[in-house]
């Protein structure tokens, strides 16, 4: 089967029910996407599939034929952090960092969808992503700062 990952065409020949999460990490070496629970509860494994945030631990790769998958590795360009990533760095949005890839992808989806620039809307956008370190305030600060910078 064929799919696009971070803009690159990839083919996969293994078992179709292997989780997208494991294919990304083991077959494609993209270990930025994390596993926290394996059952759709924590959001650490969030990636974008055709622009929509998805828990990659719940998706069998067999469903990904022809899909566009984006992971945290796609956000920065040529060693330069994206606006969203820089905001997380400056505002303290990442502590231990294990939830961060998923948070960034959920926030990225919100940003691209032209989501509202209110704290409530941002909280809703990341409400499927658990963070045990930050208490969320600095994550919301980070996303808000990135959205404010948006044209």
């Amino acid at each position: 089967m064929k799919l696009t990952v971070n803009g690159k065409k990839r083919s996969y020949a293994g078992l179709p029910f292997k989780r997208l999460l494991d294919v990304l990490r083991e077959d494609f070496g993209l270990t930025g996407t994390k596993e926290g629970c394996g059952e759709g509860e924590c959001g650490a494994c969030t990636v974008l599939v055709d622009g929509e945030p998805v828990n990659s631990c719940l998706v069998p790769v067999g469903q990904m034929e022809g899909a566009q998958v984006e992971t945290v590795e796609s956000l920065a360009s040529a060693k330069k952090l994206s606006r969203l990533q820089s905001a997380f760095l400056e505002k303290g949005g990442a502590q231990c960092g294990i939830c961060t890839p998923g948070m960034l992808m959920a926030a990225e989806a919100h940003r691209r969808a032209g989501g509202k620039k209110t704290r409530q809307a941002v909280c809703t956008a990341v409400s499927g992503n658990l963070c045990r370190c930050t208490g969320y305030k600095h994550i919301v600060d980070s996303v808000m700062a990135a959205l404010k910078g948006r044209k």
């Binding site: 990490r25 070496g29 993209l30 270990t31 930025g32 996407t33 994390k34 596993e35 926290g36 629970c37 394996g38 059952e39 509860e41 924590c42 650490a44 992971t71 945290v72 590795e73 956000l75 920065a76 952090l81 990533q85 997380f88 760095l89 400056e90 505002k91 303290g92 990442a94 502590q95 231990c96 960092g97 294990i98 939830c99 961060t100 890839p101 960034l104 704290r119 941002v122 909280c123 809703t124 990341v126 409400s127 499927g128 992503n129 658990l130 963070c131 045990r132 370190c133 930050t134 208490g135 969320y136 305030k137 600095h138 994550i139 919301v140």
Partner: protein, 737 residues
């Protein structure tokens, strides 16, 4: 003068890697040739292992299996006691106790192997509650089920209680709490020219280093422990890495190949340590005006099946039992007891949240009896400079109980908010009742008593010929911001920009033992050592005309290390619990405003305001991150998080059923940093990591009391439990009338 970096929001050293996905956590390492290891665990809480059966229809020839017989050294996970085996040998003392290990090249096959192993137990009667343990229904540990029994006595509490005009009693119960770091436990191990190398998710590399030596009968230089980027710890990765590290190493020894072990969420929740549940009883004697005359406190903590860190958790618990108040007559007793449940261990706060919940909520009961305002009572009795604590410690510097209390009262608009609530609650058309609650705590920084003296921590800095400076410490970054904080301290001590100081990866082959990354000690204690080492480097550099090249001479680098020295005038007696229990204390206050739905009993947080004295915020954003994050973890314990046990097994070991706060469950925590410098800390800094955890529990219970009139001396305050209490109160009222 150049503006220093201490006090600035320096960016995290490891931040960019965490944001791009480049940071490598243990499961991100692709270790060539590595097998994956899994653990066969006890199906019951107590019994003799009769048989272990392997289904024939499984390719066991592809697996490596290790049992207790394969351990080359002593079968004990070394910590405070050597009572906990690495693998059960003959008997099991708790459900989920590790019995044997299996490794296979394929991860999925390894997990599947677990379904094909069956352990037959001859059950023995277990002890599952603290009450049964204390009454010695069965003796399951030592001679009397007691891991540790501590008393603290000051004055004559019995006599003072007999004469006190007012005596108020109360009993308080707090439950388990799961650390719920988002990265599960994981370690990898291999042998390299006879040296055992272990790498993984951990807080304390030198704890693992020490634990592996007797297990494998290896000298210190033949064991190496390397820190991988760690996805949260909160105490949960203080001692358990000794266990899983030992398991991975044993399999690696047997397989003659590297072995990685990474738990899934359910195994992590079922088997690893949690916060100790506790029962705390108070008898308090007061004058009619509310001045404390006597505090009698009895504490019992459930340690689980093995000792782990229970004695020191208990110690911190009893040392915070008074709350931040001065009382002339004190009688405290604390016991940690054994039950046949998975061992409890370190969790942010380390015994203090348990005892502080009791003493703080007890003020609400006292206030009701005396018909006085609980805040005024706290202010009347609060610790001040010159106060004498239960251990006889006289407080000198940086005592901020009243200051943080006043700050929160003001910022939360206490009186006005309470008036507004009174109006709101009178209106039958409103769908909720509203309440405001407060708590005030102190939290000792660093190891208890002589702990720091015994630890003899060492930390230092290196400089190479080009002049690059590195921080050398075994203290680990686990999200709390240790890397940037320590680099800031070193940069300022040297007068260098922040960017010119980097932090060496914690690796026992390469950094000194700066003690465990626990107990809010990293900034205050390790930071202090680093500041001294950096000052030595600065002097040496000056002697060489500022030239790193000349300072290094023929060497590639020069190292400057500092070792812990007890502050002059400090002393503590471990036997009598008299003296200076901690070098200093942080102080915090917190107000919670919430509402309770009249129909569903659901609570909703409206506002959370806290003020915490950290001495000096080396990095205000990092400090705020600790305060807000710890507060939300505490709010979870107070309102949501519930470990349900049956026959010594957690029944809800999944994030779906064990609910932690999401972004929608909590308002933005308003954190006010108070800086009352501690002369013994680097740039005046005290600890900050744990204190935020102490505050939310009692403040939430006080707010629910203010809203509903229900005094609920337990946690968590879920809608079901509030409703049950309301129904019971209603039934009692009807019975009386």
């Amino acid at each position: 003068m150049r503006k220093g970096t201490v006090g600035a929001n320096a960016l995290r050293k490891e931040g960019p890697d965490k944001l791009t996905g480049a940071a490598r956590y243990i499961d991100d390492y692709d270790i060539p040739g590595a097998l994956f290891g899994v653990t066969v665990r006890s199906p019951g809480p107590r019994g003799r292992i009769k048989d272990v059966r392997f289904d024939l229809a499984f390719p066991w020839d592809q697996c490596v299996i290790a049992t207790a017989k394969d351990i080359p050294g002593k079968n004990a996970v070394h910590l405070l006691g050597d009572d906990q085996p690495l693998l059960a040998d003959g008997v099991v003392n708790h459900a989920l106790e590790p019995i044997l290990l299996i490794a296979h090249a394929d991860r999925a096959t390894a997990w599947r192997a677990l379904e094909h192993v069956h352990v037959d137990l001859e059950p023995l009667e277990p002890v599952l509650t603290m009450e049964d343990s204390l009454s010695q229904k069965q003796v399951v540990w030592g001679l009397d089920n007691v891991f540790k029994d501590i008393t603290i006595v000051k004055g004559d509490a019995q006599a003072a209680l007999a004469e006190a005009p007012v005596v108020v009693e109360g009993e308080y119960r707090v439950p388990h709490q799961e650390q719920a770091y988002i990265e599960n436990q994981g370690m990898a191990a291999w042998f390299e020219d006879g040296t055992l190398v272990v790498m993984g998710s951990l807080q304390c590399p030198y704890y693992v280093h020490k634990a592996l030596q007797p297990l494998f009968a290896l000298p210190p230089e033949k064991v190496r422990v390397i820190h991988a980027v760690t996805g949260g710890g909160f105490g949960g990765k203080e001692e358990y890495p000794n266990m899983i590290g030992g398991h991975a190493a044993l399999l690696a020894l047997k397989a003659k190949k590297p072995v990685k072990m990474v738990y899934d969420r359910t195994e992590d929740m079922l088997a690893t340590t949690k916060r100790h549940p506790a029962v705390v009883r108070h008898r308090t004697g007061l004058t009619k005006d509310g001045k404390l005359l006597a505090q009698e406190v009895d504490i019992v903590m459930d340690g689980g099946a093995y000792m782990t860190l229970s004695p020191v958790v208990l110690s911190r618990g009893i040392l915070h039992a008074s709350g931040p108040y001065e009382c002339p007559n004190v009688s405290f007793r604390a016991r940690a007891v054994a039950t046949n449940t998975p061992p409890n261990g370190a969790f942010r706060g380390f015994g203090a949240p348990q005892t502080l919940f009791a003493v703080e909520l007890h003020w609400e009961k006292i206030a009701a009896v005396l018909k006085k305002d609980s805040i005024a009572l706290r202010r009347l009795n609060a610790l001040r400079p010159g106060s004498t604590m239960a251990t006889g410690q006289v407080l000198k510097d940086s005592v901020s109980a009243v200051q943080v209390l006043d700050t929160v009262v003001k910022k939360s608009a206490w009186a006005k908010t309470r008036q507004a609530h009174a109006r709101w609650n009178k209106d039958p058309k409103k769908p909720t009742w509203r309440g405001l609650g407060l708590s005030l705590v102190h939290h000792g920084g660093g190891f208890t008593g002589n702990g720091e003296v015994y630890l003899k921590s060492r930390a230092g800095v290196s400089i190479d010929r080009k002049g690059s400076v590195k921080v050398l410490a075994g203290s680990t970054e686990m999200g709390q911001g240790a890397s940037s904080t320590l680099a800031q301290i070193v940069a300022d001590a040297l007068g260098l920009p922040y960017d010119s100081v980097s932090v060496e990866r914690p690796d026992t082959a390469n950094v000194p033992d700066s003690g465990p990354t626990v107990a809010s000690r990293t900034t205050m204690v390790v930071g202090g050592l680093l500041k001294r080492a950096a000052e030595d480097l600065k002097l040496a550099l000056a002697k060489h005309g500022g030239s790193a090249k000349r300072l290094c001479g023929d060497a590639l680098e020069r190292r400057f290390l500092a070792e812990y020295e007890r502050a002059p005038g400090m002393s503590f007696d471990d036997k009598t619990y008299k003296g200076d229990a901690y070098a200093t204390y942080g102080y915090g206050a917190l107000a919670v405003e919430l509402e309770v739905d009249k129909a569903t009993w659901e609570t909703r947080l409206l506002r959370v305001v806290t003020a915490q004295d950290v001495g000096k915020a080396v990095n205000p954003r990092v400090v705020e991150g600790q305060i807000v994050g710890g507060t939300v973890q505490g709010l979870g314990w107070a309102l949501l998080e519930q470990c349900v046990y049956k026959a010594g097994v957690m029944q809800n070991p999944r994030l779906t059923d064990y609910v932690i706060p999401t972004a929608l469950d909590v308002p933005d925590v308003e954190a006010l940093i108070v800086e009352n410098p501690f002369p013994g800390g680097p740039f005046g800094a005290k600890g900050v990591g744990e204190m935020p955890m102490d505050l939310p529990g009692p403040a939430v219970a006080a707010a629910v009391l203010a809203a509903t009139g229900l005094f609920l001396p337990f946690l968590p305050l879920t809608p079901e439990r509030i409703q049950a209490a309301a129904d019971a109160a209603q039934a009692e009222k009807e019975l009386v009338s």
